[in-house]
């Protein structure tokens, strides 16, 4: 796919990601629906398949999930440069797109977090600040367990029986809970079982 990107398009992309950054309460993943609306439906800068694979690769790869944003920018740049096979110019535009979306999604939220947490730390003995931090603790525990549940469920719907995947998820949770085995061994085991078609 080839698209034309003018300087004002890049600027609009940057502004859009700056805005989404401030809306991404509890993580960038919650802004995915709006990114899809903007990039695929409204502007046609990415195909549906490019959008989906950007999210899927980032989920499977090591590192923070927010890197899916980098892949979206990279793909927009590649499209603007005539595709991945078009040579160095496309790769450079890909890197430009990557930088624009990543800086856009990171800068506002990190600046706000930096200022807000410093204020919170200076005022950490205040009753309101203590109540805020301690009061959210049970909410956070519930959210973590729910996130694990939703992530596990997201892999279902393939050819293998669902109980295979549940068994793997529960076994992984139990092993992490009771032992100190390195997490990479568990992920490797999951990859192997999946590649063999067992889950």
């Amino acid at each position: 796919m080839t698209i034309a990107m003018h300087w004002h398009d890049w600027l609009a992309l940057f502004a859009q990601y700056m805005m989404l950054s401030l809306l991404s309460i509890s993580g960038a993943i919650t802004t995915v629906p709006d990114m899809h609306r903007y990039l695929v439906d409204q502007h046609g800068w990415l195909t549906n398949a490019q959008f989906s694979s950007s999210v899927a690769i980032a989920q499977a790869a090591p590192g923070p999930n927010v890197l899916f944003v980098a892949l979206m920018g990279w793909n927009v740049g590649l499209n603007a440069g005539g595709g991945i096979g078009a040579g160095p110019q496309a790769w450079l535009l890909g890197l430009l797109g990557l930088a624009i979306t990543m800086v856009g999604i990171m800068l506002p939220s990190t600046t706000l977090t930096y200022v807000a947490t410093r204020w919170g730390h200076r005022n950490r003995t205040r009753r309101e600040v203590r109540a805020f931090k301690q009061g959210l603790a049970p909410v956070v525990v519930g959210l973590l367990i729910a996130t694990g549940w939703v992530l596990a469920l997201g892999n279902h719907g393939g050819d293998t029986p669902a109980w295979h995947l549940w068994l793997l998820t529960i076994a992984a949770a139990f092993i992490v809970w009771r032992t100190r085995i390195h997490l990479l061994w568990l992920l490797g085991a999951g990859a192997l079982l999946g590649a063999l078609g067992l889950v």
């Binding site: 809306l23 509890s26 590192g63 990190t110 706000l112 301690q134 525990v141 990859a191």
Partner: protein, 195 residues
């Protein structure tokens, strides 16, 4: 730069030696985080390096969660800032992003060739199932820290169940759940703790 207050970083506790240590620690941490880094943050920061206690991890993560932006990036920024100020914050966030960014670009280029392979799809599925278990276990391991909570252990478990039901079962929008349930727990805690 602000000096690290003595009550948050007592000298007898393990802490990062330098901004370089922060950068490499968070790089290594991020590279272990398939399908999300949070489970690894808890394992590395609380259990292995012990830069944070379980209580501090819960509180910091709650703050990282309600502020906009990726949670684990916010968490890295807060930990880096605590020990080395702005330089530390930048080192921790850069460590979290730089090498994983190179890895993910390489994967995206590779993916174009292997997208249709069933073994690759199966491996991704198996890793996803394990990743779900890792995150859930991170939450389960933090439950004992709620025993010291001002609201009492039983009430805390009730709120854990409410949040789980609202997010995982009813699939309510997270913003509303945070606002309503978090509002109740914060206000109730505020009433319980001494001024």
């Amino acid at each position: 730069m602000h000096p690290a207050p003595p009550d948050t970083a007592p000298s007898e506790r393990p802490q990062p030696r330098s901004t370089g240590d922060l950068f490499t620690s968070f790089t290594w941490l991020a590279l272990q985080g398939f399908g999300g880094v949070l489970a690894v943050v808890q394992r590395e920061m609380v259990e292995k390096k012990r830069w944070l206690t379980a209580d501090e991890f819960l509180e910091d993560w709650a703050v990282a969660q309600v502020l906009p932006g990726p949670n684990v990036i916010n968490l890295a920024l807060m930990i880096g800032d605590r020990y080395f100020g702005l330089r530390g914050a930048i080192a921790a966030v850069a460590g979290m992003l730089t090498v994983p960014l190179v890895v993910i670009l390489a994967l995206a280029v590779l993916y174009a060739q292997f997208a249709g392979n069933p073994q690759v799809a199966g491996a991704l599925r198996g890793m996803g199932a394990v990743a779900g278990g890792l995150i859930a276990a991170t939450g389960i391991k933090l439950i004992p820290a709620l025993r010291r909570h001002p609201l009492g252990f039983g009430i805390c478990l009730g709120f854990v169940a409410i949040v789980f039901g609202a997010i995982a079962v009813a699939r309510l929008p997270l913003g509303w759940v945070l606002l309503v349930v978090g509002g109740v727990t914060c206000f109730w805690t505020w009433k319980k703790i001494p001024a």
